[in-house]
Symmetry: C2
Subunit: 136 residues, 2 copies
DNA sequence: CTAGTTGCAAAGAGTTTGCATGGCG
DNA sequence: CGCCATGCAAACTCTTTGCAACTAG
């Protein structure tokens, strides 16, 4: 095991992720936030520490589903695990919807049993049109 | 509608995509291929034309699920309407699986009725692990 | 002719790396 | 003090854009 120092930058970043447990945070979000509160943190520090946290399973990484889209990170907390549900993204307005639905879990099981494919909800995004954009 | 010229570059690129109808082709694959056969095509031409073809639903774009992974393209075969079913792509070996399954259609209806979201099967790819890669 | 197309180079976005400096333990 | 962490800038990858030269119709 490696040693790990508890620096003020790391405490700040982890704290920010915990505060935003319900949100998907990008590396840029973190960098911007601490710049705005007058406590800037270097981006290499942010990226490196995020990698560490992912490695240690303290946060989860969502790879952007579209090119040029930044990866999102989220603190892992019981009951808030976004890898247990699907995400739907509206192609028109870009909004991200968390789909908590029991039928989707059944679907995953169905695909695993009948089609021998293990879906990774972390990496999968359903694209389409959201309610608002359908009515416009 | 805009005019569209039939240039030798475009004919060549589309021909290459058609030859590789069973493969996932990246922009770099195309650029490399034509460089190697002594008929180089500029990368901006390739990227721009691929965008056109995606726009016109002649080819399909799969965006990589890992950082730094290039997007893949594939010719859409007429008579095999890929917009009526889902696609699953294995994150490990890259293979693409067409999922013809009645339950998936029900799922789309369920999401539309209960969650007010219209899924676009053309643009959606389910990422995960295929049978072969699970056993290795 | 003339509007669409090409291709080079340069710009961009997101991310990673090299390296000297800084600070935890 | 020894090490790991920090942060700046530069490197990197894939992709897009500006623009002058080119070409299909």
């Amino acid at each position: 095991m490696e040693k790990s120092y508890k620096t003020k930058q790391r405490v700040a970043i982890l704290g920010y992720l915990r505060e935003n447990i319900d949100n998907h945070i990008t590396a840029d979000n973190i960098i911007d936030h601490f710049k705005q509160v007058g406590n800037p943190i270097g981006k290499s520090t942010v990226y490196r520490y995020l990698d560490n946290l992912v490695e240690e399973n303290i946060i989860r990484k969502y790879t952007g589903s579209e090119r040029g889209e930044a990866a999102c990170f989220q603190y892992i907390n019981e009951g808030h695990d976004c890898c247990t549900h699907f995400h739907m993204k509206c192609s028109k307005c870009g909004s991200l919807i968390h789909l908590d639905c029991h039928e989707m879990e059944e679907l995953s099981e169905h695909i695993l049993k009948e089609h021998n494919f293990l879906i990774d909800m972390c990496k999968t995004t359903l694209y389409g049109t959201c309610e608002n954009c359908m009515n416009n």
